[in-house]
Symmetry: C2
Subunit: 213 residues, 2 copies
């Protein structure tokens, strides 16, 4: 272990701790232990635990931005939006309870905003006007966050599918049970399915606007 801790090393260790122990395992003492110091030492580098959580979220958003920037220029806005959706889902999935933990966070890094600017430019360049691009990215973001939150909460719960676990009740609500089975099926495929529906909806709106241009 290199001597001396830093803001960066604290955030890095906190992300590792999150993945290994879950959010409730990210305590000042555990974090300090992993870094070879005592808990109060952290407070020389950060003002509070909340600041650490904010930095963790910013770091995740930074990685999203980098991965997006490395993406090849999409053939059209539809491919670009799909790539965007897949990247942010993948980054959230990288961390335990990632969507729940990082979605609502306040990002404080100008670098992330500059990266956002980059692909907003791409989309408007590939035929989407600004109002549509803004709607589209926020809608797709909401979809990803909602989807991954459910995805990760199922993953972290044994006792989830009560429907399947209680045959007497399951028999009473056959449609819900059948729908629930549909839900357990491959998450990647379901995600692509939902994404396609949303992109089709956006396309319909874009097409409707085109003649008026």
């Amino acid at each position: 272990m290199a001597k001396g801790i830093s803001r960066q090393r604290i955030v890095q260790a906190a992300l590792e701790l999150l993945d290994e122990e879950g959010l409730e395992g990210v305590t000042a003492r555990a974090l300090a232990g992993r870094l070879g110091v005592r808990a109060p030492a952290l407070y020389w580098h950060v003002a509070s635990k909340q600041e650490i959580l904010d930095e963790m979220a910013t770091e995740v958003r930074r990685r999203m931005a980098f991965t997006l920037a490395a993406q090849p220029e999409p053939a059209g806005w539809r491919e670009g939006l799909a790539a965007y959706a897949r990247v942010i889902r993948a980054e959230y999935l990288l961390h335990r309870d990632g969507a729940r933990t990082f979605s609502g966070a306040r990002v404080t890094d100008p670098e992330v905003l500059r990266a956002q600017q980059l692909w907003m430019e791409r989309w408007t360049r590939s035929g989407l006007e600004l109002a549509h691009a803004a709607t589209a990215v926020q809608l797709v973001t909401a979809l990803v966050v909602g989807f991954v939150i459910e995805e990760q909460s199922i993953a972290s719960t044994d006792r989830y599918l009560l429907t399947a676990s209680d045959p007497a009740i399951a028999a009473e609500v056959p449609l819900v049970t059948a729908a629930g089975q549909h839900l357990v099926s491959d998450a990647d495929q379901r995600f692509e399915d939902y994404l396609d529906v949303v992109l089709t909806g956006i396309a319909a709106r874009v097409d409707a606007a085109l003649p008026a241009d």
Copy 2:
């Protein structure tokens, strides 16, 4: 105050406490204080704080189910799905951090499942086949959860829109700033907007399947 506490009164008080103080204000001691007892008394009625949180989520889901059941029979699946989306958003909005707190919860009440069965029947009756109904309700649910999480996290943060607060950076990322302004605008209207896009996407899929029937 009626003498003696109960599971129900604990959950009711916990929901009030959540709205007044936020999730971190829902502590065993505060909860007990509100009920006129000491903290250990709670543990005669519930096994753990997690059980209280689960019950709170179940209660919210129960209210959603009741409100949905009271809804008039929709003219078609599209109106039915829109009504569904509006109801669950409204119930989440009723509680501070409602979406974040209750979305991933494990519902343990058969009553809620029976209510779900009811409107799944309605939708399949009004022209949506089961696979489409399952996709539709899960997609719309993901949208609502993702949307309201962002909606409520903006509401609970002063220092959110960094974009607007730092003119130097804002000037550097004009598209992001413009999109951000679009985001601050009326949430209800944005929600209806996104919902309409999603329903249009679902309609396209349903229409495509019809000829094949």
